[in-house]
């Protein structure tokens, strides 16, 4: 199997697996227990907290709170901020956020909030002037992702934070889920108040995430119960997963060179764009403004689902921006916001390379894909 879907989830790294194992066997205590076993668990959690903090450049490990996933972190951040500012009813976000932010903001609109949805240009980039103009005296929160999950386009978090701080009293939340472990991040020198991350995107297991809460930012609990995480998030800590997240952050920091991943991505992207005539890149061509591992490519006149299914038959895993369900519209909101024409948005495929891919796998993909595309183009009723 050739796995080119690392933005969906990643394989648990062997180093992570090894670090977790004792916590799935002999170390089974509750980190809240005061006895020796509990204390051992507590230490493991605090070590992991330090690892997470150092990967994202937090000033203090206390700023890291463990959660169950990225979506929980995003939901908590947004809902928590608004709960502390009941008089402010305005939120600024973008049209290209992950569902964990987008759907919360849609819900806020139903509840009477005024949401400003910032658009993007054809390259998938924000207009910062639009952001400046959107900020108001009653803006409670600005929620803008760091890296787009579909196109890999990076938003200028540092600059955005500066604008938000300079022009408003709003809290700045960043959905960093897709970026952590792929690009260097230093939150202590950015005006970021909240930052969500998820373990399984960086070779930790599924079921663990974290929220960075800058010291001094008030954020009421989302899940009520015990006094875990200094009263900020109730629920017995998922110690094996948290240990896994710590090990994954350590791996990403120590072995954080993305040169190989980037060269594989470039090899794949160049091969497709040069070798397949109806292939078009989604997102800015300048690779320094995108994640090093992601390529979103549209194949005009063909359907993304059929490409995916043919690749799947050949043992190659990718994802598509289009999906056909009678209940939902298919074209991806991100590509729609970028004004990608319908005939192309339908045929979008996301390739996301990871730590364990090889040059040979990319070559196989480049050998298999053109045949699939030409077969589908031949079948297309709209292709000339």
């Amino acid at each position: 199997m050739i796995y080119l879907d690392n933005n969906a989830t990643t394989a648990v790294a062997p180093e992570v697996y090894e670090a977790m194992q004792p916590y799935l066997s002999k170390y089974f205590g509750n980190p809240s227990s005061p006895h020796a076993l509990g204390r051992h668990m507590k230490h493991a959690v605090e070590d992991a907290r330090i690892e997470v903090a150092s990967l994202i450049g937090a000033a203090d490990p206390k700023e890291i709170v463990f959660t169950s996933c990225g979506s929980e972190s995003d939901n908590w951040a947004i809902r928590g901020v608004l709960a502390t500012r009941p008089d402010k009813k305005h939120v600024v976000t973008t049209l290209v956020e992950h569902e964990a932010v987008r759907n919360v903001c849609h819900q806020l609109e139903k509840e009477g909030y005024d949401v400003t949805w910032l658009g993007v240009d054809g390259n998938g980039e924000l207009d910062l002037e639009e952001l400046r103009n959107a900020l108001r005296a009653d803006t409670a929160l600005v929620s803008i992702m760091l890296a787009n999950n579909e196109t890999g386009v990076l938003f200028p978090m540092r600059e955005i934070g500066h604008i938000v701080r300079e022009r408003s009293g709003a809290v700045f939340h960043v959905d960093g889920v897709q970026a952590v472990g792929k690009v260097p991040i230093e939150l202590k020198s950015c005006n970021v108040d909240l930052f969500a991350l998820s373990g399984h995107k960086l070779h930790a297991p599924q079921g663990v995430g974290a929220l960075y809460v800058r010291s001094g930012v008030e954020l009421p609990s989302f899940i009520l119960g015990g006094k875990q995480e200094e009263g900020r998030r109730a629920g017995t800590l998922a110690v094996p997963n948290i240990v896994g997240l710590g090990a994954a952050c350590s791996l990403a920091r120590i072995d954080g060179d993305h040169t190989l991943i980037e060269s594989l991505r470039n090899q794949l992207e160049d091969g497709i764009l040069e070798g397949i005539s109806n292939a078009h890149l989604n997102g800015i061509a300048d690779r320094t403004k995108r994640l090093p591992n992601t390529s979103s490519i549209s194949f005009e006149h063909v359907d993304g689902q059929s490409i995916l299914a043919h690749l799947d038959d050949k043992g190659i895993c990718v994802s598509t921006g289009s999906a056909c369900h009678s209940s939902s519209h298919t074209a991806s909101p991100t590509l729609k916001a970028m004004n990608v024409p319908y005939s192309m948005a339908q045929g979008s495929i996301r390739f996301s390379v990871g730590r364990y891919n090889t040059e040979e796998e990319i070559e196989t993909t480049l050998d298999v894909l053109p045949k699939i595309i030409s077969k589908l183009v031949e079948m297309s009723p709209t292709a000339k």
Partner: protein, 185 residues
């Protein structure tokens, strides 16, 4: 995914355009963005000699078109139209999930549309004494008028139950409506 479906998706039969003289049907969905075109060639006794398709869409759409184009070969236009009128039968046979039934429907719509195109042409070219309305079941205007009058029919489905007219590709249903309306005057 069941094997038949997978096989027809990966190795679709009858891709392309039927040879002339051909009749073509199109179907598309704004919801899922899929598009299908199906063409049939007929012999002198109105049997399907060839059916071919082109499509951009999901596995279910492509497999359905591949299967339908195989099955209608040798069938009369009436049987082909009836096959197209029953997407649920094919959906059940292929164990298609509920939210993908509309993809089977789309394939069937393209088939029915192709037969409709044939029917419209056949109706216009008809040179018999009585005007031909239903080309699938070969029902004349007089017959339909008589049925309406004698049995006091008021809806298209009643007409179809009485004399089959309108029960194939459905292209003559607007004409049946006109006859119904005329009978009320």
């Amino acid at each position: 995914m069941i094997e038949t479906l997978k096989d027809h998706f990966l190795n679709p039969r009858n891709v392309g355009e039927a040879d002339e003289p051909r009749f073509t049907g199109r179907a598309g969905s704004f919801v899922c963005g899929a598009a299908a075109r199906l063409s049939v060639q007929l012999d002198e006794s109105h049997n399907v000699t060839e059916a071919r398709f082109k499509a951009a869409g999901c596995e279910v759409l492509i497999a359905s078109l591949s299967i339908l184009t195989e099955r209608v070969r040798g069938k009369t236009t009436t049987d082909a139209a009836l096959m197209g009128q029953h997407p649920e039968t094919l959906a059940v046979e292929l164990s298609v999930e509920k939210d993908k039934v509309h993809c089977v429907q789309l394939a069937c719509d393209a088939l029915v549309a192709a037969i409709c195109e044939y029917s419209d042409v056949a109706r216009n070219e008809w040179i018999g004494e009585e005007a031909l309305i239903c080309t699938c079941f070969f029902v004349s205007e007089q017959t339909i008028e008589r049925e309406i009058r004698d049995k006091g029919l008021t809806t298209v489905s009643e007409v179809t139950r009485a004399c089959n007219a309108g029960g194939g590709c459905g292209s003559c249903q607007p004409l049946i409506v006109e006859l119904l309306e005329a009978s009320w005057d």
